[in-house]
C-alpha cells in the first residue's frame, strides 16, 4: 500500500483556499493509511455543506446523502455489512442542527462508526449564518443583533448520552488531529470527533489564533473513562479541552445486538429468501 492510495488525482475541490477542510482531509487520509484501511473497504457517508463534500475528495465508497442525514444511513450500512469501515462526516450545521435527533440516537444505538464533525461555528455554504455552535453575540446577516442563545455543546451532550468515544481535535494541529482520528476509527463503537476549524471566509471571530488561545490539551494523567470528570471537562468555562475526553468500551455495538449474523451468516448481498421456512410460516396460519 502506498500513502497516496486515497488520492483522487487532479480534481476540482470546492473549498476556499486556506480552509481547514484541507488539513482535515489530509489528516484523515494519513490516519486511514496508517490503519491499513483500503478504499474498497471504506464507506464515507456525509450530508450537505462544504465539509460534507469531503467524500468526493478521497478514494472511497461514498454515500453523500441529504442535509443532516448522514448518521441513519451510516448506521444501516455498518449493520448490513460490519466488515466495512464507515465514517460519517459533515459540518456542525449538518450534524448538530439539521441532524440533531439522529446524533442523539446514533449515540444511543452505538454503531461501530466514526462521526467526524467539522466545527467552524458558522454556516459556510449558505454564506455566513449562525450555526448551532456559534458563540453568543456572533453577528451575521440573519442574526443581525448577534446570536442570542448559548451554543450547542456536542461534547457535553455526547458524555451525557454515554457515547462510547468522545474527542475534540483542532484542524490547526495536524499531528494531534491525525492521532485522535486513528484512535477514533480504531475504537469499537460510535466515536465522535469534533474538529474545531476556522472558516476563513465567514467567521472572523473564531480564527486560527482564537482557537489556539481558547484550547488546551488534556494531559497524560487525565482518565477518559471517568465519566464525571469527562462531564466536568465538557462543561468547563474558559478554554476548550482537546484530546480524547471520554471513552466507554463496555457498550455493545448496534450491529452486535441484531440477530442477523448468527446462523444466517454471509454478506447481505449473497442472501436468498428461505422459501421453505416461508412455507412453514404460511402453514402456521392454517390454525389447524
Amino acid at each position: 500500500m502506498e500513502p497516496d492510495i486515497f488520492d483522487m488525482g487532479e480534481i476540482d475541490i470546492a473549498w476556499c483556499p486556506g480552509c481547514g477542510n484541507f488539513a482535515i482531509l489530509k489528516a484523515l487520509k494519513a490516519a486511514l493509511f496508517e490503519l491499513e484501511i483500503t478504499p474498497q473497504n471504506l464507506v464515507m457517508v456525509s450530508g450537505i455543506g462544504q465539509a460534507a463534500k469531503i467524500p468526493h475528495y478521497l478514494r472511497a465508497n461514498v454515500f453523500n446523502g441529504l442535509h443532516g442525514r448522514a448518521l441513519p444511513p451510516a448506521t444501516a450500512i455498518k449493520a448490513v455489512n460490519p466488515a466495512l469501515t464507515v465514517i460519517a462526516e459533515s459540518g456542525d450545521g449538518d450534524m448538530y442542527g439539521e441532524g440533531g435527533n439522529h446524533l442523539i440516537n446514533a449515540m444511543r444505538r452505538n454503531p461501530d462508526i466514526t462521526n467526524v464533525v467539522h466545527n467552524n461555528m458558522v454556516y459556510g455554504l449558505t454564506k455566513g449564518q449562525a450555526s448551532p455552535t456559534s458563540r453568543m453575540g456572533f453577528k451575521t446577516p440573519v442574526q443581525v443583533r448577534g446570536v442570542a442563545v448559548e451554543p450547542f455543546n456536542p461534547i457535553a451532550v455526547a458524555v451525557a448520552m454515554d457515547a462510547s468515544f468522545v474527542a475534540r481535535a483542532f484542524a490547526g494541529d495536524f499531528k494531534e488531529m491525525k492521532a485522535i482520528l486513528i484512535k477514533a476509527v480504531s475504537h469499537h463503537g460510535y466515536a465522535l470527533v469534533d474538529i474545531l476549524q476556522p472558516c476563513i471566509s465567514f467567521n472572523k471571530l473564531n480564527t486560527y489564533d482564537w482557537f489556539k488561545e481558547h484550547t488546551y490539551y488534556l494531559d497524560d494523567a487525565y482518565d477518559p473513562t471517568d465519566r464525571a470528570a469527562a462531564f466536568n471537562v465538557a462543561v468547563e468555562e474558559g478554554k476548550m479541552a482537546l484530546g480524547v475526553i471520554y471513552r466507554n468500551s463496555d457498550r455493545p455495538c448496534f450491529e452486535e445486538t441484531t440477530t442477523v449474523f448468527g446462523d444466517n451468516g454471509g454478506p447481505f448481498y449473497t442472501r436468498q429468501p428461505d422459501l421453505e421456512k416461508l412455507n412453514g410460516l404460511i402453514d402456521s396460519r392454517r390454525g389447524t
Binding site: Q40, N64, G65, P73, A74, A76, I77
Partner: protein, 578 residues
Amino acid sequence: MGKKTRKIKDDVSLVICGSAGQGIQTVETILTQLLKRAGFHVFGTKEYMSRVRGGSNSTGIRVSSTSRPSLLDRIDILVPLDGKALKHVQTRISDDTLILADKEHLGLADEKGLPGLIDIPFSQLASDMGGAIYANSIAAGLVAQLFGVDREEVFLFLDQLFSKKKPEIIENNRKAAAKGCEIAQGLVDSGEIFIDIQRQPHIAEDILINGAEAVGIGAVAAGCNFVSSYPMSPSTGVLVFLSGQAEKFGIISEQAEDEISAVNMMLGAWYAGARAMVTTSGGGFALMEEGVSLAGVMESPAVIHLAQRPGPGTGLPTRTAQGDLELALYSGHGDFPRIILAPGRIEDAAILTRDAFTLADKFQVPVFILTDQYFIDSYYNIPSLDLQDKKAESAIVETDGDYRRYRITENGISPRGVPGYGNGLVVTDSDEHDEDGHITEDLHVRVAMVDKRKRKLDDMEKEAFPPELIGKDDYETLLIGWGSTYPIIREAWSILDRDDVAFLHFRQVYPLHPDTSAYLKKAKKRIVIEGNSDAQFATLLRLQTDHEIHETILKYNGAQFSVEELAGRLETTIGKKE
C-alpha cells in the same frame, strides 16, 4: 324471548361491539378460527377509535358459503357489550337483527325498535363461572353453537388458547363456553333462529391472514432483510409482523427515532446490499418524502408500504381512506420515475409486495405499496399463498476497477454494485453527479442524467401489472376501482346484475399498463369509485389516457364503502337492470 323465526341462508353478518379493552378481539379470534375450522368462509373487519380503553369499537365477521370478503352494513347477529355499543351501530340494525345482549348492561329506557333483542345475562353467568372475564367465552360458545359448530371443537380450541393458564381457568372457560352453547341450543330449538350455510370441510385447511400479514409475508418472500420504521396507525402491523419474524428470517428490524431516519436508514441498507423497506402512514410518510427524492436522484431501490388513513394532519388516525395516491405519486421534489402498487386482495398484497422488491432492485426506483386501514386490518381465509412462482432475484453486480455507478446505458439502468463486493468503488450522491457518482455542475451531464433516469419508465410501463376486467368485454359502462375496494365493487357489481356493465380493477396505479387506454376507450360511460373527495385516480386516468371520466362515486368519511351502500349508489348512477 323473541317472537319470530329468523332464517339466515348462505351469508351471515355478525358484529361484536363494545369499548376498547373489553375483549372483543378475543371473541373475534375464537370465532373466526372456530368457524373456519368448521368449514365456513369467514371475513373479518374492524373499525376502532384512536384510544386504548373505552369508546366504541366493532368487529364484523361475515360467515358465508362462498368467499365474500367485503364489508356489509347489514347486521344479522349483534353482540353488544354495553349500551354505547348499541348506539354505535344503530343505523345498521333492523327488525331482522338478532341482538344477543345483557339487557342490564344496555341501560335501555325501553326496547322499542329492538324486536330481535334477546336477554342473555352474560355478567351474572360469568360471575357464576368465577368472574367477569368468562363472559367472552360464553359469547364465543353461544355464537359458535348458533352456527352448529361441534361443542367438542369449541372446548378443544379454548383448551389450546388458554393452555398456558392454570387448570382451573381452563376448566372455567370450558364451562363458560358450554353455558353459551346451551343457550344457543335453546334459541335454535325454540325456532328463534335458524342459520343455513353450506360447509366445505376443505376450508378448515385454509390460511387466515390479514392485510398487514400479507404485506409482511410478501416482504419475507422477497428476502427482505431490513425494515426501519416509526410506529403509526395503521401501518404498524407490518412492522410488528416483520419484527416477529426477524430472528427466524435474518431481518434487521429497527424502530427509528423518526420517519426521516427510517427512510434514510432504508436507503443506506439498500446501498450496502440489503433488501429494505419502510412501513408508514399519512404524516409519517410526509416526513419521508425527502427520502423518496433521495432515492430518485441516487437511483436507489426503495420499498415503501404506505397504509392510508384520512388526513390532512392527524386526520382520523384509525380510519380508512384512499387519499394518498397523489401524495405518493408526486412526493419528492424533482423529476424521477416511480412505481405505485395497490393490492385489492390478500393474495395480491403478498405477491405485489414480493414483486415490489424485484422491481425496486431492477429499476432502482422507489416502489410504493399503497394499502389502507380497512385493508390492513381485514382478514379472510384463502386456500394458500403460492409465492414460489417468481423467485426474488438480486440485481447486484460485482464491481471491477473501472466500475462507474451511473454508467449511461440504453435502457437507463446502470448495473448496481455494493461496497465491499469487487474491486470498484460505489459512489452515490444526492447532488447531481457524473457517471462515477461524483458531484457535478456540468449542465450537459445534468441533462444526460435526467434523461437516463426517465428512460427507465419505458420498461417500467411494459412490465406493469395489467388491470383486471370483471364482466363481459363488450361492456358499455365501465366501473373503475383501485386497491382495497376490489371485493366490494365486485360484489356490488354482481348485485347490479347487468351484462352491459363491467368492472376494471387496477392493482398497479402508476405507471399504468399500456392496455389501460384501450379498456377505457371501449366504454361509453366510465365511473371511477374511490375513497377520497378529489377523485384522485380519476384525475390520473384523465391525465394519462386522454379519456373523460363521466361519473365518480367517492367516499371520504373515514369508513370503507359497504356493499349495500355501493350497490345503492351504483343503481342511482346507472339505473337498475333493464
